[in-house]
Symmetry: C2
Subunit: 380 residues, 2 copies
Amino acid sequence: MVERLLLGPGPSNVPPEVMAAMLRPTLGHLDPDFLACMQRVRERLQQVFRTRNQLTLAASGTGTAGMELVLTNLVEPRDKVVVVVNGFFGGRGVEMAKRLGGEVVEAKFPWGEPADVGAVEKALAAAKPALLYFVHAETSTGVRNEAAALAAAGRKHGALVLMDCVTSLGGLEVDVDRFGVDAAFSGSQKCLGAPSGLAPVTLGERALAKIAARKTPVPSIYLDALWLEKYWGSERAYHHTAPIHMVYAFEEALRLVLEEGLEQRWQRHVAAHRALAAGLQAMGFELLPPAAARLPMLNAVRLRDGIDEAALRKRLLLEHAIEVGAGLGELKGRILRVGLMGVNANRGAAIRFLAAFEECLAAQGAKVPAGAGVAAALAG
Amino acid sequence: MVERLLLGPGPSNVPPEVMAAMLRPTLGHLDPDFLACMQRVRERLQQVFRTRNQLTLAASGTGTAGMELVLTNLVEPRDKVVVVVNGFFGGRGVEMAKRLGGEVVEAKFPWGEPADVGAVEKALAAAKPALLYFVHAETSTGVRNEAAALAAAGRKHGALVLMDCVTSLGGLEVDVDRFGVDAAFSGSQKCLGAPSGLAPVTLGERALAKIAARKTPVPSIYLDALWLEKYWGSERAYHHTAPIHMVYAFEEALRLVLEEGLEQRWQRHVAAHRALAAGLQAMGFELLPPAAARLPMLNAVRLRDGIDEAALRKRLLLEHAIEVGAGLGELKGRILRVGLMGVNANRGAAIRFLAAFEECLAAQGAKVPAGAGVAAALAG
């Protein structure tokens, strides 16, 4: 098996300390030593989310399970939900809310553009929804939505605020309490640097009050937030068997995040992004989103006509052992998604990509100035 | 961190080969090498479930997620469901089916007794349900229900047959196709010997036809069976990011199961159970279920009055590094649950438990014939 440099939209590479932690001896999921480990995960997650929310835990599934946990507990049939849609993952929110019987109003914006907060406000004022749902870092387009402003708009219009921060948490400022977000979820395998398999979630008091007031039962036991709280909290009531080794790994990944410091980590992601963006520009490539709305950890690179995107990705993977992501939906074949997440958020990874990208373009006969990308990244 | 001998109701200890496989380099979840790994998992699971079902895969969650996948896809609001209840996990099935809007008829039997197939037949004849749900190996009581007979009864009365084989798969005969089971689920961490975190599921043609005929959408994306099939099948459509390292571990665990051989593995579980049961009997303890309905891998040991169950378990864990399980629900404080699953299904583990059990009983002042349990297990 060949080691890959994982520069796609996630998973990112896992640091050796986290791999080592995964190999601790198996414990029972109600063992006092394991309960102490869960408690540390909980406290570290509160720091990473920047929240005092008691109900902060790692659900036993991937980021998609986190999305589903938040929506399944908070959307009741006939609830009005305004969903901000400017990419694939906003669309996922629409579909999931509809499956739960929610009456969805989409606040739609072009893929590659950030949501216009004023337009979202108008949608909120018109719909008076119970819930506002948005994606902080839209992984499909590399766009950053203005989380604090969107959350403030939602609160102003009396909506509970739900945030997807799968790609942003640990790589870009997320401050659940200051933003005024009522429920948020993420994934373990992107900027947090753990293997895929856990979904950090946090729910505040207003969210818990909505769950307590439900007229219908939550249509899931596995993702029932109040029941999970009894398992993660002081009651330790049996709910399911936690994925022990994943929790070990995640505990260590969170320790590394906090040891580095959140601000430092955000800055490191920005620095890596700047090197990559400078290199791409020198090679004549542009990023999809406008400059002010670009994510540091996920770079959507517009491809010129005539470049065979699938062949390019295949060559990157097989000849250079570098994985990057394809475009989703309407962007398929038109962009590459280059992630610099977690341990891969550094100039070295950006340069390794730029050099390999140049070789793959040349192999397709595309004209690229030799060495220009790497030189610009080094200079930036 | 101390290594424990995990003789509870799961997780069991993980073999070193499986631990080593978990540490393979991280791959992207759409990497061709990872897709090949998924394909091997699928083929091995078909052998372990003894099924030709195409839709056979490992869902990205624990056994409870497997239960939820099967019920969420197959129970529509107002569907009649007969649920066999003779323990905690049958009760879980009732609750989950109700949350999905199913009209549940419970076929109830005392905890510790197997389901009476004739009585279930009567319930089926009276209710004419769309679905029959039962637990093969009731982890809460150590009882084996007659899976083949229950499935035949369900089919005879036109019901789709859903089976929980979380505790039986890999440790007791499960033959999905011969039994006539339409959908089954399990967990990775019991007799299959992988870490907790994956839920093997299999759905047959009749189950798929029911899903295709649904009038309402499946109220989950994460556990949407048809969408998961597109991800695991030839389309490789993006659905979620699989827990890569868990899948590595599971692939290896399944290889070990098949290398040993299913029949040999079942026999090994029976032999370990016989040694344990002989030892317990010599010490004056009985198992809860009648002899003909006892599970080999999960032994519910009746405690005599005057034994402090919680103190006994605590001493086993802290002084002997052996974990066993408590009773659930109405059996709390009245039984111990001793699992001999996966690598722990051997006479050595049974003897280690019996010796430690004797010491813990003596520490409470209970009268036990010295060495009788170990001697009987050695002789058996």
